[in-house]
């Protein structure tokens, strides 16, 4: 009924004492700001990761010895499995009709030298033909590795732009010989930069043909096979075909579990979502705590306000205000307070999200539902924590309230 008046009183009180209001609303502000920014950042992270994880196309899956290991027992069990070999890759290439590409590969990390310079922690990849599609790589200068490089086990490699910059400052790396471990390789190509993912550089690698890689590393390595299906729809068929081929090669009886790992992008996304879901829950829990604290502070300030304005309540009752009018007035005031905190919190949260977007590659964006959530939450805080002071105000006896000094 006197909504405008109650809102006005609350806003006036906020303006009249800015510092006190700010401190009163701090809990709510922090609570709402963290909810908004956490949602924005997690959503940004999700779309970033799914974008990056799926950038080779979500119709790629991976076969390796281990698969997706989440426990130590599973790891110990997987260690006893037979290795994945180039022969497996060749068999799959021949016998999976829905696969358009089968790429064998393996990785390790080592130091790379050029003359007196070196770079540590470089990812050394052995890759079969088709790696440019699976790894999503484009050549900036020079050339890609070829089938012939692979079959002849040529001692050639392509390098990421970061390696190029660090080993060859101011020089053209093409046709230079770099030393990878004990082996000398000739640089035939440099790739286009890909930037960072989750703080990890994606441009810090040396790629050589897989057969060269295996020759250097004694052949006895379990490799990884990436398989690309024609499209998303045929992915499950290709997965099933590949599984059948491998089980056949390993003479697994029906009903026995796979003794190899088979991972799709979905597996990673599921795991990732679980992970961020956990972070999400923890952060929302923390936000909830600050909202509760904020609510208690608002309740406290409203109790003070009810006491200070006992006489006003008496006057209003004498003039015909019913208990529910007084209740409504103080509820509206408490809600206006918490909602102001909510609005400031939303602004802060949006600001934080924008900052994250500017400072990092995460596309942190504030969704309408997050804004609505912020508004609804802060209103609920006001209504919930305002109801006790408002009830106290509504229950005041008009005669005693009028007499209050």
């Amino acid at each position: 009924m006197n909504l405008r008046e109650s809102t006005g009183i609350a806003l006036g009180a906020i303006r009249a004492n800015k510092l006190r209001s700010f401190l009163t609303l701090l809990g709510t502000i922090i609570g709402v700001a963290s909810v908004i920014s956490v949602i924005a950042i997690v959503q940004g992270l999700n779309s970033f990761v799914s974008d990056k994880l799926l950038n080779a196309g979500s119709n790629v899956f991976e076969i390796d010895k281990f698969g997706f290991i989440t426990s130590n027992d599973a790891y110990v069990e997987a260690l006893r499995r037979p290795d994945i070999t180039l022969d497996d890759a060749d068999a799959l290439r021949l016998s999976v009709p829905h696969a358009v590409m089968v790429v064998a590969g393996d990785n390790r990390v080592t130091r790379v030298h050029y003359r007196n310079k070196h770079v540590d922690g470089v990812q050394i990849r052995g890759r079969g033909p088709g790696y440019d599609v699976i790894d999503d790589l484009t050549i900036a200068s020079g050339r890609h590795l070829t089938d012939t490089d692979d079959t002849h086990r040529e001692l050639v490699c392509i390098i990421g732009p970061e390696i190029a910059d660090e080993l060859f400052p101011g020089m053209d790396p093409l046709d230079k010989d770099i030393r990878v471990g004990e082996q000398t390789l000739r640089v035939v190509g440099i790739t286009v930069p890909k930037g960072k993912m989750l703080g990890q550089s994606q441009d810090r690698f040396v790629i050589m043909p897989i057969r060269t890689y295996l020759k250097i590393h004694n052949d006895r390595e379990s490799i990884v096979i990436d398989i690309k299906s024609a499209d998303q729809a045929s992915l499950p068929i290709a997965v099933q075909e590949a599984r059948n081929i491998l089980r056949g090669r390993r003479h697994l009886a029906p009903g026995r579990p796979d003794n190899f790992g088979l991972t799709t992008a979905d597996t990673w996304m599921d795991f990732y979502r679980q992970l961020t879901g956990g972070i999400f829950v923890v952060m929302i829990g923390m936000a909830a705590i600050s909202l509760v604290v904020g609510g208690i502070v608002i309740m406290n300030i409203m109790l003070v306000s009810v006491t200070e304005r006992t006489r006003e309540i008496g006057i209003r009752k004498a003039l015909g205000a019913r208990s529910r009018d007084i209740l409504a007035q103080f509820l509206v005031e408490a809600t206006t307070l918490s909602l102001s905190g909510g609005v400031i919190g939303i602004l802060a949260g949006v600001g934080l999200a924008l900052l994250v977007r500017l400072a990092t590659p995460l596309p942190a964006g504030v969704s309408l539902s997050a804004l609505t959530l912020g508004i609804v939450m802060s209103s609920l805080v006001g209504i919930f924590f305002g109801s006790y002071p408002a009830t106290r105000a509504a229950k005041l006896d008009p005669i005693e309230a009028l007499r209050y000094e």
């Binding site: 008046e5 008496g314 006057i315 015909g320 205000a321 208990s323 529910r324 005669i399």
Partner: protein, 235 residues
């Protein structure tokens, strides 16, 4: 009959003791009377005023206002009666400090559920009636004591109540201003309103046409104020 009070009792429980603030009061007040209720402190006049103003309900007896029994009403019904039938004027003015004169006068209309435009218009008219047409936007602390009490009178009048109930309305004012306010009450009465004045000052009580004296929770005397009535008759 506007007010019919029969054998009214109000008992307060103070600790284990029962205090009989009102102990069998009978009182009739007609439309457009001007009554002063007098008595020393502890006589029960404040209790009677609270009951007359529907701020409180009796523990025994009957109070009919325009034929409606007040004693059995719920809090919400009492609030409605206060809003529609009673106009309070207090010793300490009891204006809302943060609101300007106009808004203070509007307040009863807010609780009566009257629309904003109509409220504004009626509050403005009533303030002009008490001579404060040029003070509408002033806050109480920007007004003198007399002006504040006139705002309070305007607030009491704005809902066109059946009773104007004034509790020591000049208690916080100097004598000259007090006389002004009493003259204002006289005008209000002249316009057909019923005025009930609660006071312990004989100087104030003598403005009324009828004086009810209280003692120990009972009516001690109920007399016509000959002086005033004669003066009125001769004028």
């Amino acid at each position: 009959m506007l007010i019919e009070i029969r054998d009214l009792h109000r008992v307060y429980q103070v600790g284990t003791e029962e205090v009989h603030a009102l102990n069998g009061v009978d009182l009739d007040i007609e439309q457009n009377e001007y009554v002063a209720i007098m008595g020393p402190s502890g006589s029960g006049k404040s209790t009677l005023m609270n009951l007359l103003g529907c701020l409180d309900t009796p523990t025994g007896g009957s109070y009919r206002l325009k034929g409606q029994e007040i004693a059995k009403m719920s809090d919400d019904q009492l609030a409605r009666i206060r809003n529609q039938e009673i106009g309070f004027v207090f010793q300490t003015f009891n204006l809302l400090a943060r609101a300007d004169a106009l808004h203070n006068v509007e307040l009863p209309l807010v609780y009566a559920g009257i629309k904003h435009e109509e409220r504004r218009k009626r509050a403005r008219e009533t303030l002009e009636l008490v001579g404060l047409g040029d003070r509408m936007k002033h806050k109480p602390n920007e007004l003198s004591g007399g002006q504040r009490q006139r705002v309070a009178i305007a607030r009491a009048l704005v809902n066109r109540p059946s009773i104007i109930l004034a509790d020591e309305p000049t208690g916080n004012l100097d004598t000259a201003t007090g006389e002004d306010i009493m003259a204002a009450f006289r005008r209000i009465w002249n316009q057909g309103n019923t005025v009930i004045l609660v006071t312990h000052e004989p100087d104030i009580a003598r403005h009324a046409n009828r004086v009810v004296r209280m003692r120990d929770g009972k009516i001690e005397s109920d007399t016509v104020n000959e002086e005033v009535v004669q003066a009125d008759a001769s004028s």
